[in-house]
Amino acid sequence: MIHTESLARTFRVGKETVEAVRGIDLDVAEGELVAFLGPNGAGKSTTLRMLTSLLPPTSGSATVAGVDVVANPAEVRRRIGYIGQKDGAGHNYRVRDELLMQGRFYGMSRAEAAESGEELLRTLDLEALRMRKVSSLSGGQKRRLDIALGLIHAPGLLFLDEPSTGMDPQNRANLWDHIMRIREQRGTTIVLTTHYLDEADAMAERVVIIDHGRIIADDTAETLKAKQAGDRLTVVVRPDQAAAARALFGAEGSDLEERPDDDGVALSVRVDAASHAMPGVLARLRDAGLDVVAAAARRPTLDDVFLNLTGRSLREGES
């Protein structure tokens, strides 16, 4: 569905050259749900705008839905849906008018656009707002309308740039329900960007981590976490037992880390399936005469993956 080769884009800002995207090779098969994850300025939006033909690449190539984005941008646009990072709905229009016009832009008849529009108003909980002026909507309401605008023509390939930003948890859940449902019903291929680590983790089968305009990891969230970070087991012991614990507990896994704790010293190691390993480890430590004050098994998050790959945390960059 998507195939890119060394896709790159630079911007000139005054005398400076900004390398927003530095050569992306990506293949997305039909029906996949892919999430681009990365800090501010990583190049996620720029990549999406090249794939949607809105921005010509500086170099490299991209085929989207069977069409070359440079050679035939108009045809690409006919085959995709795009929900940008900013407000898609015009502020001076009524909600329903914008929806209907969007359908007409894609060549739908008035009746088709009205039917699809009504369904979207219902599923995205916008029914009561249909006659409201867009400028009077709240941020989250606007965002839901943007989603409806992008879905009106039921595209086979959908690009969403931070779809859930600004929504409350209830509406985020609704949005995901809706996305998952159209995906099930129509086999829609979906590429989205997000800042929400938990969202990428829970929803996408495939997470593409982008940093400084490059793909630095591309796999399922499970595999990324297992390969790049792994489970960690932590125990807290009294300071006088720290030396003994370091030797014994350190041998239970790899990558021993240590930090002071209110109750003494917290030691942690990387262990496969940490919660299953914990009872055995605790028993062995007790048999060796060590008093464990507290213990915890922790599954890694995508943030740990990012931290491991770049030495920076994604959360710090979040606003």
Partner: protein, 265 residues
């Protein structure tokens, strides 16, 4: 690698696209008709305040080739066209800022239709405005030649699309700061208007003004409108007006499409 294509949306013609873009823009008026009232009154003010001055100036004599009203009214119609279409980019700038422009760029609408549809929206009230000032002027001695006026409005429409497209390109070029759009629009609009002989006849002005006005496409359009409003088809100036309008439209659309393609907003 084999890439499967999802079903594409129905292909639409450029004319359909223009119609859709025009209607979306026009909806802002339909949903809020009061916004139109001021723009309807504006040409009446011009006509009512300027007309008598001109009449006094020339003593209704040979300068205007008969009635000053007959001479001035087509000028007012061209002026409101210029006011309207040169602001095509103003609404666009707002939509560039909010993101609606990007959303619409991502639809299959043809690029030319984006500009033509918007320019036509600015031209829509013009038809009503022209009708009102014409009707008001009749009791004061204006002679209406309906067919000629329609042809005149069509030529103006073509010209207006060109001006609208240039305004569109200006909005994209000045997307970072709103005031630049207005500064450039004003700096160009008034010299163009005055140097076309639209408000005051250039015949009484200095020679250089007359020379400069020959390089102003608007001059030819104004001349053609005057001939048409006077009720004549048999005049080569109409042809020149049409040529000026077509050239302006072609250049405007070319510049506009280029700036859409190159935009990196």
């Amino acid at each position: 690698m084999a890439v499967l294509a999802p079903p594409a949306s129905v292909r639409t013609s450029v004319l359909t696209d223009i119609g859709h873009v025009w209607w979306r823009e026009t909806l802002t008026i339909v949903r809020d008709p009061f916004s139109l009232i001021f723009s309807l009154l504006q040409p009446l003010v011009f006509l009512g305040l300027f007309g008598p001055l001109l009449a006094g100036l020339a003593g209704d004599g040979a300068l205007f080739g008969g009635s000053s009203l007959q001479w001035f009214l087509p000028g007012v119609v061209v002026m409101i066209t210029m006011f309207g279409t040169s602001m095509t980019g103003a609404n666009l700038q707002f939509e560039i800022m909010t993101g609606a422009f990007e959303r619409i760029l991502a639809t299959p609408l043809s690029r030319a239709s984006l500009m033509i549809g918007r320019a036509l929206k600015e031209l829509t009230p013009l038809v009503v405005q022209a009708a009102i000032i014409t009707l008001v002027a009749i009791p004061f001695g204006f002679v209406l030649h309906p067919l000629h006026v329609v042809v005149g409005l069509l030529i103006l429409g073509v010209f207006g699309v060109g001006v609208g497209a240039l305004s569109y390109a200006l909005a994209i070029a000045a997307r970072k700061s709103e005031w630049i759009f207005w500064a450039v629009q004003q700096a160009l609009l008034f010299p163009l208007l005055i140097l076309s002989g639209m408000m005051l006849p250039l015949e009484t002005g200095p020679g250089w003004m007359q020379v400069v006005s020959r390089f102003n496409p608007l001059t030819y359009v104004v001349d053609a409108e005057r001939v048409l409003f006077a009720g004549s088809f048999d005049d080569v100036r109409i042809l020149w007006g049409l040529v000026a309008a077509l050239v302006t439209a072609a250049i405007g659309l070319w510049v506009g499409i280029r700036s859409i393609r190159r935009a990196t907003m």
